[in-house]
Subunit: 405 residues, 2 copies
DNA sequence: ACCGTCCCTGAATCATTGG
DNA sequence: TCCAATGATTCAGGGACGG
C-alpha cells in the first residue's frame, strides 16, 4: 500500500490492503456516537465540511468499531500501539471492545486530554476533557518516556536526595554515616502523566481548517513521540482533516491516512503540502508565565470579592458585583509605582469604557498633593496593611510624646 | 436510622435500614478491584489499617457494586445524585452497571480528579487521575453551579462587553453612537468544569507525610457543594476514615457513614468528634486552617501580614511584626457578631496580656455609638470589602440626589 | 412524544495591530 | 525587532420551540 499518502475510502475495506505486522502506531478518532450530523464551514465560507455520526443502535456502532480494532491488531507490529480517541458518550462500551479484542493485559493508559473552553448554558459541569485509550499489541511495546518540568512547588533539593527503605519498609531519605542525606542520580524531570492539558484549537488559529472536530497537532505529536521513533509508520483510519498525518510528517515518521469523505482527503493532502502548525504560546511558555499576581494581590482581590485580571498593567481585577450597571475595575498600587502613576494607568485602561466607579487600592504612604486627587474620579482606598502601618506610626509618635513629658 | 453517625457493618445489609427517597447525595468510593490487600500504617506506626480488595471474579465484584447502586437508587430523593469514585481498573464495567440501574439519561458527568504525584519506574505514562461518575436519579436533580476564576489568558476587558448580531447575522461587539463599546451584564466567573485538579496533599499542609487512600477534603466539599444545600443528607456506604462525613459536617449537611471495618469506624468517629484535634494528630496541622478559618479570613490575615491563630474566639491572628515590643492581636468581625460583641471578645482574650495595640477588622456596617468606641483601646479598621460597600452606598446617594435635581 | 431547526451563549487564545 | 495590548471568532454546544 501507498506510504505517505491519504487514501479515499471506507477504512474497514481499505485496511485489508495493509500487510500484517507492518504498522507501529494506529491512532483513531472515530465518530463519538453523538447521534448528530456535524457540519462546519471554513474561514472564507468557500467550503462546508460534514460528517455523519448517526447510528441505528449502539450495537451497530460498536460492531463498526470492533471491525476496525480487529484489523488494527492484525496490521500492528508486535511492538506497536493503538490510541483510540473518544469521549464520555460511548467510552465504556468502546473499552470493553478493546479489552476483548486486544486483551485486558495490553491496556496501558486512559489518557485524559483536557482543555479550557468557552462555556455554555448547560445545567451541570462544563465538559472539558476527552479520553484516549492506549493499548499495546504485546507487553513488548515501544515506549519513549517524555519528561516534563518539575512543578513550581516541588522542593528540588528534596527530590535530588536518594531514598531507601527503612526497617518497617517505609521509603525514607538515605543518609550517610554522619546523618547527612545522600544525593541520588541525576533527575530528568517528571515523567509525562496520563493527563494532558493542551489548548483547544483556537477560533483564530491559522492551523484551523474548518473541518469539524479538528484536533490540535500538538496532541498528536505527543502521542507519536511516546510510541514511535523516526521512520516508523503511523496510521489513522479516520483521518479527517489529516492532523495525524501532519504531525507524523513533521516528526519524520511515515504515515497513511484513510477517510471516507472526498472533501476530507482533498483537505488533508493540501495540509500536508502547506504544513501549517500553530505555535501555542500557552504551551511554550507554560501557564505560569501568564500569572503575574503575587499571592498578596490575589488575597486582596479575593477579599473584596473581585476576580483577578492578568496581563493588564492598568487593571488588576473587577468586582464581581456591578455598580450602577457597570463593572468596577480595581487596581492595586505596585511596590515601584507612585500613587500618581497608578491613578494614570487605571485611567488609561478605563478610557472609553463607561465605568461609573474605579477603585485604586493604595499600598504605600505618599505625599501626593490633595489637588491632584480632586482631578480624578478614581476612588482611593487604603489597604489594611497601609492602615496598620500608619496606625503604628501614629502610636509611636504618641508614645514618644508621652516619654518626653 | 441514626442521622449524623457512623455505622459499623456491611453496607449492603445496613442500607436496608434507610428509608426510600430520603437521601440527597450518595458518594461512594468502593474498592477499585485492584485484586490486592491494602495495608497502611499511620505516622507513628501505632496503628495499621487494612482493607481487602480481592475478589474471585470481576462478576462477583460487579454484583456487589450493583447491589449497592440498586439500594442507592431506592433511598435517593428524586432530586438526589450519586457520585461513584473509581479508577481505570474497572471504571468501564462500573459505568455499564450505572447505566443499567440508574439509566443512561441520568448520566451527568465523568468527573476527572487529577493530581500531581511522585513518579515511579513503571514503563508507560504516570497515572495521575481518578474518575468520579456523576449520575442523578431523575432529570430534576439539584445542582448548584460553582464559579472559578477566568483563565490567565482571557482578555477580561473584552468579554465584559455586550454583543449583538450585525447585518450578516454575525455576533459582534455592541457599540454606542460614539463608537464606544457597551458593557454587558454581570459576570460570575467560569462555571466549574468536569476536570478537577486537587492536590492529594492540602497545599496549606505541605509538610504532611501522607495517608494515601484518604481523599482530600476539598474533593468532597466540592461534590457536596454542587449537589446539596445546607441541612441535606449525605451518605457514604464505604466511608473509611470518614472524609465524606467530615466534609458534610463542615458544610452543615447531615450525614451517615457506613464501613465494614471496626478500625475505620472508630477512626471516623474520632475525626468527627474532635474534627480539629484528630486531624492534627492523625494527619497534619495545616488542615486546621482549613476547618476553622474561612478562606476569606485567611486571605485577610495574609493581607495585613499576620499569621492565623486557631481555636481562640477572641483573636484570629497576630501581626508578624511586634509593636512596642509586644505582639499585636487581630480579630476579624464575624458574620453573626455585632461590632460591640467583637470588641468585647477581643478585649476578653487580651485581658492581662500587655498588648500595646489591638486591632479589630470591621466587616459589617454598624450603628455602634461613637461614645462606646472611645471607651475601648481597640483600634478599628474597616475591611476593604466594607469600604467598597460604603463607597457604593455613598455614590448611590449622590446619583439619587443628582436625579432629583 | 419526538424530532429537526433555529437561535442563543460565552470565554479562550492566537493573530494582528500598535508602540 | 521585540513586547504589549487588542479583538475576532468560535460551537464532539445546549435549549426552546414548532410541526
Amino acid at each position: 500500500m501507498d506510504i505517505n499518502n491519504i487514501i479515499h475510502g471506507n477504512c474497514i475495506e481499505k485496511l485489508n490492503d495493509i500487510d500484517d505486522n507492518s504498522v507501529d502506531l494506529i491512532y483513531f478518532d472515530p465518530p463519538f456516537f453523538t447521534q448528530r450530523k456535524h457540519t462546519l464551514t471554513n474561514k472564507d465560507n468557500s467550503k462546508t465540511f460534514a460528517f455523519d455520526d448517526k447510528y441505528n443502535s449502539i450495537e451497530e456502532y460498536l460492531s463498526m468499531i470492533e471491525r476496525v480494532i480487529e484489523q488494527s491488531k492484525r496490521i500492528l507490529k508486535n511492538t506497536g500501539s493503538v490510541f483510540l480517541h473518544c469521549d464520555k458518550t460511548a467510552s465504556h462500551h468502546i473499552r470493553l471492545v478493546l479489552d476483548r479484542v486486544l486483551g485486558r493485559d495490553n491496556f496501558q493508559s486512559e489518557i485524559i486530554w483536557t482543555y479550557k473552553r468557552w462555556s455554555n448554558a448547560k445545567k451541570g459541569l462544563l465538559n472539558a476533557h476527552q479520553v484516549i485509550f492506549f493499548y499495546s499489541k504485546t507487553q513488548d511495546f515501544k515506549f519513549n518516556t517524555l519528561y516534563t518540568d518539575y512543578s513550581a512547588t516541588t522542593n528540588l533539593d528534596q527530590i535530588l536526595q536518594d531514598r531507601e527503605r527503612n526497617a518497617n519498609g517505609k521509603s525514607v531519605y538515605k543518609r550517610d554515616e554522619y546523618g547527612n542525606t545522600v544525593l541520588g542520580k541525576e533527575k530528568r524531570g517528571v515523567p509525562l502523566s496520563d493527563v494532558w492539558e493542551i489548548p483547544y484549537l483556537n477560533p483564530k488559529a491559522r492551523e484551523r481548517t474548518g473541518y469539524p472536530t479538528q484536533k490540535p497537532v500538538v496532541l498528536l505529536t505527543q502521542l507519536i513521540n511516546i510510541a514511535t521513533d523516526e521512520g516508523d509508520l503511523v496510521l489513522d483510519p479516520f483521518c479527517g482533516s489529516g492532523t495525524t498525518c501532519v504531525a507524523a510528517k513533521y516528526l519524520q515518521r511515515k504515515y497513511i491516512g484513510i477517510d471516507i469523505s472526498g472533501d476530507a482527503v482533498e483537505l488533508a493532502k493540501m495540509r500536508l503540502e502547506e504544513m501549517i502548525i500553530s505555535e501555542s504560546n500557552l504551551l511554550n511558555k507554560g501557564v505560569n508565565e501568564y500569572y503575574e499576581k503575587t499571592e498578596k494581590e490575589l488575597a486582596l482581590l479575593q477579599n473584596i470579592n473581585a476576580f483577578p485580571v492578568q496581563r493588564n498593567s492598568g487593571i488588576d481585577g473587577f468586582l464581581k458585583e456591578h455598580f450602577g450597571g457597570a463593572p468596577v475595575p480595581i487596581k492595586i498600587q505596585k511596590e515601584d509605582e507612585t500613587l500618581e502613576d497608578a491613578i494614570k494607568k487605571l485611567e488609561k485602561s478605563s478610557h472609553g469604557k463607561n465605568y461609573i466607579m474605579k477603585i485604586l487600592i493604595q499600598t504605600k504612604e505618599t505625599n501626593v498633593s490633595r489637588l491632584f486627587r480632586l482631578e480624578t474620579d478614581v476612588t482611593i482606598l487604603k489597604s489594611l496593611e497601609l492602615q496598620t502601618k500608619e496606625l503604628a506610626n501614629k502610636n509611636n509618635k504618641l508614645r514618644a510624646a508621652k516619654v518626653l513629658q
